[in-house]
Amino acid sequence: MNTKTRYTEDDKMCSLVCGNHYMLFVLSRFGIPMGFGDASVGEVCRKHRIDVPTFLAVVNLSLYGRLDPREVNGLKPEAIVRYLHNSHEYFLNYRLPTLRSDLSEVIGGKDQKDVSVVVLRFFDEYADEVKKHMQYEEKKVFPYIRALIQGKADSGYHIDIFRKQHSQIESRLTELRDILLKYYVGKTGNEFNATLFDIFTCAEDLRQHNTLEDVLLVPLIEKIEKEAAR
C-alpha cells in the first residue's frame, strides 16, 4: 500500500503512476507522454515545459483530497485552466460518448429493449447536464481568467459568481450506477461489469475534477483578483 503523504519533484514519475494509476489521467491532461524512464517528476515536467509546483498541486490534491491554502501561492492559473480544458475535452468528446455506446451495447437483451431506452434516456439527460456545466466554464469562466491574467478583466464578472453556482456534477451518474447495482435484473456478464467499472471510474474522475476547480482554481483566482484590485 502507498503510505506516502506528499509527492515532491524528486520522486520518480514512474513511482507516482505506479502508486496510483489514476495519475494516468493527470499525466495525459498535462500532455505528458509515457516513456519517462527513471526520470523524476521535476525532470519530466521541465522537459515538457510544465510548471512543477502546479503539477504537484494537482497531483497531491487529487491523491489526498486537500490542499494547504498556502500552496496556492505562485501556481500558474493558465496551466490549471489548460488542464481543466483538456479534462472537459476528455469527458465530453471521449469518456461520456464511450460510456453511452457501451451502455447501449450491454443493456437490453432481447426482452430488455425498454430498459435500454430508459437507461439511455437517463444517460443522455445527464450528459447534457455535464455539457452545460462544462460549456459555461469554457465560455464564461476560462475567458474571464485568461483576461484577468493579462490585466484586462471585464469588471462584470468575479470568480465568486462561479463559486456560488458551481454544483457537483457526478451525483446523477452515481445514481445511475446505484440503480444498476441494486435494481437491474437483466443479463449481466463481463461487458456489463466492465461498463459498470467505467461508471465508477468516471464518477470518481468527475468528482476530482470538480474538487480541483473548487479547491485549487477558485482560491487562486480570488487571490489574483485581490492583487489586481490593489
Partner: protein, 192 residues
Amino acid sequence: MKRMLTFTVAEPSEILREGMVSVLRKINAGFRVFQVGDLGQLEHHLSLERPDVLIVNPGFWKGENPAKGGNRDMLCVALVTDLRDEQKLQGFDASVSLYDDFEQLREKLGRLEPSPQEASESGKTLSQREKEIVSYVVKGFTNKQIADKLCLSQHTVITHRRNIANKLQIHSSAGLTIYAIVNKLVTLEEVK
C-alpha cells in the same frame, strides 16, 4: 421520532463498566444501556436483547472477529484499557480508550448514530401504494393529479414520494423511470 440507540457494555470490572455507562448517559440521556459483568453470559444476552452497539474489552472478547451473536447489524466498539490491546482491534467498528477525554468519547460514540434519513427506510421494498405512486410519477402526473386519482391529500402524496426516494435512494424522475420499467410497474409506451 428518531429511535434511540441501545448499548450493551460488557466489562467485568464494576468501576470501568459503571464509568462507561455514566459516560453514555452523559452523552445522551435517552440511550438505553445494558450491562453485562459476566462475559460468559454475553452471547446469551446479545441474542436476547439485540443491542445496536456492543462496547467490550478486546482483551476479553475472544476470536479474530468479534462474534456478533446473530445480530449482523450490531456495531462493536472496543473499550481499550491496556495499550497493548491496540493490536487486537481488527474486526471492531470503533474503539474508545480509557484515556479519551469526554469530547473524544462523545465524538466517537456520536458517529455511531445512524443519520435520520437512513434510519429505517433505506433498502426496504415499496408498499403496494408506493408502487402505484411511482407508476403515476413516471407517467408524468403531478402531485395534485395523483392525490385526486388516489383520493389522498397532496401532503400525503408528498410524504409517500419522500419515503419512496429514501427507500430506493433514487431522487430523479428519470431514475425512477428506470426502476419502474425494470420492475414492470409501467410500460415504455406509458412513460413516453
